[in-house]
Symmetry: C2
């Protein structure tokens, strides 16, 4: 048990620190030099790490002995991460050292598909992705999948997702069977939080909140350095928290959900009342563009629609601040069409809606990143899970 | 450092396990028997624990050797806990073993007082409380104070409280100075959560939510076995989360807060519209009774007031469920006048307002307990803090 703990600690330290001398590992982790030597030998023999000649001229190098550092061996495992969004599949291919080898964005035939259709789409996309790096699907050690909805990550179980035509799907197991490779499924906003923590604006921060805005509103919570999934694994649901008693009808069938005020469909149904705000028969994107143009051109109704959306969003954010008292909120998304939610006026409205005490309001930062960054979060999650599997395999072999 | 850790672990184990043999302490904690012997000798010499003859006839007792167990020494420290509520001060006196020695409820001249007035009131009440057990204020080792409002417990700082006429009061330090005894201040709902965890319905549960209902609505979160205070120490604010965009005016000056729909003042201002629902000049309690009586007698407006209050409360609870996905929610309060919020219909409405997935809704239990139970939570908090101080004192002496 202690040995397993030591392996995990050292491997993660090597991952964080980049090329690092053994002696520094002992100093940083408090693990004895003898044990560091033993464990790193194991990790080397299992091919998870590799030695690399040090390039700098540290004092010891004058003695003429070749000095080596340790680093993660990129070739050890190949991983994929993907994000499912409305009709779009975004994928990245990553090696075990976290280097990105390929990326791909592809369209899907429908927003909502059966689990079987989705598995076929994902398989085809993975074939194309791996081919870009002259590899095949079979070379993958693990796949991370981010999907909107209510997901119990520990068992890859999707209670409900806008991307799936059926409820209660053991999506992780189903995709693993279909592809023949371990698949790890999580809520997409959780994976954005993982990505922000790993290589984004949450780096080095133990507590922060990520709010994502797409066609839905997502929430990822990092509490005490760890992604918080709620007591029973399905927490951090924000888009369907209620912000108006018996309010606007939501797609989920309930009334007053945050999404019923800020999602694109919510804005577009109000836009039906605005003359000249686009053709009701056009697609979502075109209609959103028309609404935004009308607002910019000064149409009072169009502006009122966006204005209310922003103020309700501010109120929802303020509720999170009251509950979590965070010092950092990251608003993550990419789409221009939600720029009105990132406006200074919205942040200001949020500050006015929190309990007013004499302490600075939380820092709010806006991180616009594309679907590929979400996919990177999914790959990072797969990397973590595959690392656990690799270490567990060592424990089984070595006892 | 390891020694300090060992002292803390063993003392807390002895507290939990009641009279316990040394050998069992070693088995349970994984600390070696030799170290257990050394540390318990220290704890004995500092008077924090005591030996007690075992009463049962365990196998070893046949050998005729007198067997002793260890337990917390009640006389080691004397503590008080108190809860401030609207015009009421509820206090308990507790020994270091957690035994209650006295209790007291006393009225205060006003709901809102200056810090100085409050300190005087508290001092007088503590004199009366300690006198009941033939002790004096000076015998106390620590005092726990639960107060409504925004409190940063780590430094006993009250940003705002309905009980205080001023904002930004270092109440812990101020009371410590005034009384000459360490005072530990926390938000009152947090202390209810501590009490539920220590000796209530949250015993043995690592994650649960406590919602308190009085003149305000409080929230206490236990996450991973620990009270969660938010990133910056002032989280878990629930009564002023917004449940209605630009809704009813709250006492805090903002609109749409949960309290603006469920607090007594919110019901009573609507009751002004109900003919025969009591004399507007009467006191809060009498007016609430009149409103409740009118509702029971079938008055449609009175029923509508209580009904909306219950449904908005349900919506607020559902928001917590969406965010935390708890398996246990404890509704804690005592007052008959809020019985409509504990109704089955409210719990049912909460269940309908959460994201609908095929998993059981959280268990909701109702724990009606009086102000004295809140005071016990405050005393338990003081007990914990005084234990830390005592152990730190040993570390300073023993190195």
């Amino acid at each position: 048990m202690q040995r397993e703990q030591g392996r995990s600690t050292l491997l993660r330290h090597i991952r964080q620190a980049g090329p690092v001398p053994r002696i520094e590992l002992a100093d940083r982790t408090g693990i004895s030099r003898a044990t560091v030597t033993t464990i790193t030998a194991e990790l080397l023999s299992h091919g998870l790490i590799e030695e690399v000649a040090r390039t700098d001229s540290s004092p010891d190098s004058r003695r003429g002995r070749p000095r080596v550092d340790l680093r993660i061996r990129g070739k050890a495992h190949l991983l994929a991460g993907m994000k499912l969004s409305d009709r779009k599949l975004s994928l990245v291919l990553m090696d075990f050292a976290g280097a990105e080898l390929a990326e791909l964005e592809t369209r899907m035939p429908a927003s909502t598909q059966s689990p079987g259709q989705l598995a076929t789409e994902i398989g085809a996309a993975l074939d194309r992705l791996t081919a870009q790096a002259d590899r095949t699907l079979a070379d993958l050690s693990g796949i991370g999948v981010g999907i909107a909805g209510v997901v119990e990550a520990a068992r890859g179980f999707v209670y409900w997702s806008p991307s799936l035509s059926d409820r209660n799907i053991p999506l992780g197991a189903l995709l693993s069977d279909h592809l023949g490779i371990p698949v790890f499924v999580d809520n997409d906003a959780n994976l954005v939080a993982v990505a922000e923590q790993g290589f984004g604006l949450g780096r080095g921060r133990d507590d922060f909140i990520v709010v994502t805005i797409e066609s839905g509103v997502g929430l990822g919570l990092v509490i005490g350095g760890t992604l918080y999934r709620g007591t029973r694994g399905c927490g951090a649901e924000f888009g369907h928290t209620k912000v108006h008693f018996e309010g606007a009808l939501c797609r989920c069938g309930q009334r007053g959900c945050l999404e019923a005020y800020v999602a694109d469909y919510a804005l577009l149904r109000e836009a039906l009342t605005v003359p000249g705000a686009g053709d009701p028969g056009a697609g979502t994107e075109a209609r959103m563009q028309a609404l935004l143009s009308a607002a910019r051109a000064g149409d009072a109704s169009a502006r009122s629609i966006l204005d209310r959306s922003g103020r309700v969003f501010a109120m929802g954010l303020a509720n999170l601040v009251n509950i979590f008292d965070p010092d950092l909120i990251i608003l993550a998304g990419e789409q221009m069409q939600f720029d009105h939610l990132y406006a200074d006026a919205v942040i200001e409205a949020m500050r006015r809606s929190i309990v007013q005490v004499d302490k600075p309001p939380p820092e709010v930062v806006i991180h616009k990143w594309g679907n590929l960054m979400w996919a990177r979060g999914a790959a990072a999650y797969a990397l973590d899970q595959v690392t656990d599997l690799a270490l567990a395999g060592m424990a089984d072999n070595a006892g």
